[in-house]
Symmetry: C2
Subunit: 463 residues, 2 copies
Amino acid sequence: MPSPGSYIAAHKERFVQELLQLLRLPSISADPAFSQDVLETAGAVAQALIHAGCDNVEVCDTEGYPIVYGEKILDPELPTVLVYGHYDVQPPDPVDLWDSPPFEPVIRETELHPEGAIYARGASDDKGQFYMHVKALEYMIRENKLPCNVKFMVEGEEEVGSVSLEEFLKANRDRLSNDIILISDTGMIARDIPSITTGLRGLSYVEVEVTGPNRDLHSGLYGGAVANPINVLAKMIASLHDENNRITIPGFYDKVVELSREERELMAEAPFDLEAYKKALDIDAVHGEAGYVTNERNAIRPTLDVNGIWGGYTGEGAKTVIPSKAYAKISMRLVPNQDWREIMDVFTAHFEKIAPPGVRVSVKPHHGGQAYVTPIDHIGYQAASKAYEETFGKTPVPQRGGGSIPIVTLFEQELESKIILMGFGLDSDAIHSPNEHFGIWNYLKGIETIPYFYRYFTEMSRG
Amino acid sequence: MPSPGSYIAAHKERFVQELLQLLRLPSISADPAFSQDVLETAGAVAQALIHAGCDNVEVCDTEGYPIVYGEKILDPELPTVLVYGHYDVQPPDPVDLWDSPPFEPVIRETELHPEGAIYARGASDDKGQFYMHVKALEYMIRENKLPCNVKFMVEGEEEVGSVSLEEFLKANRDRLSNDIILISDTGMIARDIPSITTGLRGLSYVEVEVTGPNRDLHSGLYGGAVANPINVLAKMIASLHDENNRITIPGFYDKVVELSREERELMAEAPFDLEAYKKALDIDAVHGEAGYVTNERNAIRPTLDVNGIWGGYTGEGAKTVIPSKAYAKISMRLVPNQDWREIMDVFTAHFEKIAPPGVRVSVKPHHGGQAYVTPIDHIGYQAASKAYEETFGKTPVPQRGGGSIPIVTLFEQELESKIILMGFGLDSDAIHSPNEHFGIWNYLKGIETIPYFYRYFTEMSRG
């Protein structure tokens, strides 16, 4: 087919401006203070789908934030692609570390992005990446290049665990029926090294509370005589890793699939520059589980990280207090065959068990999701691979991703189809961090590549 | 002399109302947002001294908050008592745990305080306790019972380390010259067990910062591959105590004076009910250094407590982040012969030394003070002891206090006189905690007892 390039060239200014507009909406699903903005964003997504040419666009109510649905059905006999994305974003804090306001997108040229990158919360995760699909659809419909049916499902609770999604899937099985699910919510290795994520880590996210005395105490009158919840929490957290940085929770590793030497050697072929990695993070050393290299530690191995901790006096100056309570948010990244609910259970049992006398401990489950693997011989993967070959001129590398998209396994289970993760972001996009950005080159390359996927997937489905 | 009781009986309503007025001023020295209130409080204290009959009252400027001075000089040949107090208070947070607003004092009757207790931040520490001295002076002047000279020095930075006091003392040695320094900023064992604090613990207060990657990272993409500053900080804090809850910092115990078996046996005579202690704090067990009992752990042994910790995402919901930084406020309580500056140095050296690869650590000294001991054969102690005998009908118990009043050692060094700590508060006053309060009985008993101290101290000074 004639390249989508000419259409993109003619409309790229508008494509960028439309994305900037979407990024100005602070759709922070984790903070109730922004609920009106999240709802407004759902409406904006619906408008975008209608403008792109979708039919039956609907902002579907849920127990939480709405899910935006839209479709273009050419012929029930043709294969159907279901596109998933999310319009909610992570909280922007610490806001003071942003070089420009997180919800006032600006375009800056960088060494890595000479064509400019869009700086804003959600630029890459996931507004910029799902909007590529909206614009790719616009092209295919306007230019009469859509070879199959397409459905869109864009949710607003991905950053808080997609709490309403499962019920929505169960209630809309027919409407959502498809032959393949297409998601761009991951990254690729580099601009010149396209890659397709074939595996994702699972997640178990908990919040713990340690309670000591029933009130804050003066550390002079009580210091040394009662258990200090912060000191205790620190000791408990410290005990969760051994000297080899292996997690000490009994049963944690029981179901972990150990990769074969062959597989690890294949992975090792992906280019990786440890010095550049350390330099980019300004650290003098990496840190992780003994016996594995960095690219294994963040992809094929389970982990436990404290994502937040607080307790006592954290204001200006000094307060000599022994607090009544201390808290931490802890998440565990999981690998195939670990069950996130089982891991949450073994964590809870262990954490309660190691609480010393003098304190009480409670563990609150937040959310979780299973790990996932895509077989590279699936036609969905093959079609995606050929699409990248068209636009990048080389075969993409199958890659294990360290992140979690809990809904991926939910889709497989509820909709009984495979998921293709065509990510166009880069690790350097700083998603979940200050100064998140998305390269304009990546954005347009995604819009250009996606239509080829539709074409090859439709062809391969026929034969 | 005729008892001050009748004067107190005639004026106690006013004495209470005047204190409530003072407690309505939120003089939080740790928080710059309240600077105007702190200054206003200094003015109110000056007015109170003038009303009580002080001459030459002055609100003395310093680099920080002012020090209020006032005096009543009868005759240079007579002994001079210098009264010290502080008009600043601790921050009230967590405010939501207060049963009534911290700066809207209310009087509530309790089992322990059938005559009522005043609930407000600063009620006991130290507005209520220094104001006893103002009212005792009013009585002595009005009733012509002042036997000696008196000077008042009331500062506004005690809760933030008395940062301006040393310079003020150096600059005002003559004006502040005295024969004994009298302070009520401590407690007594119980209403029916008067006690005089003969020892105080010192303090070294630091703030630590652990920096990992140069920005917050997505825990999926980087989790397991880089050092997480929160996990590292937890491990570092945990390592500061060994399995016997002894502090592991090299050199920390070098100068600690071990008490004799005899002294410890004397201390053990002070009544203590461990079950009641645990019940009052709602804890199932006490916790502390092996080989010492609770009353020793919080008085004659040095300690290390984390007073505050924060890092990562602490808002609502879940954020899967590896933060760039984690922080903690850490204070060490010290005992006689430990030097707070040396302890700060050994802490800093040790904490920097144990930082693992992959993070950078910085230690910021906050403030500190030396431990102190009052000899019980000093005439100041003897005079105070006789004063308690007059009003309580029994000899007070000499007691080691766990808290720190850093300025006590500063006074001894700069003004070359001894300090008598006549405290009328109770451990249950919840100073530095929500629902701080001060018994009206304690308040009036203090006002009644103080004039006897002046009488006996003047008599004993004569020889």
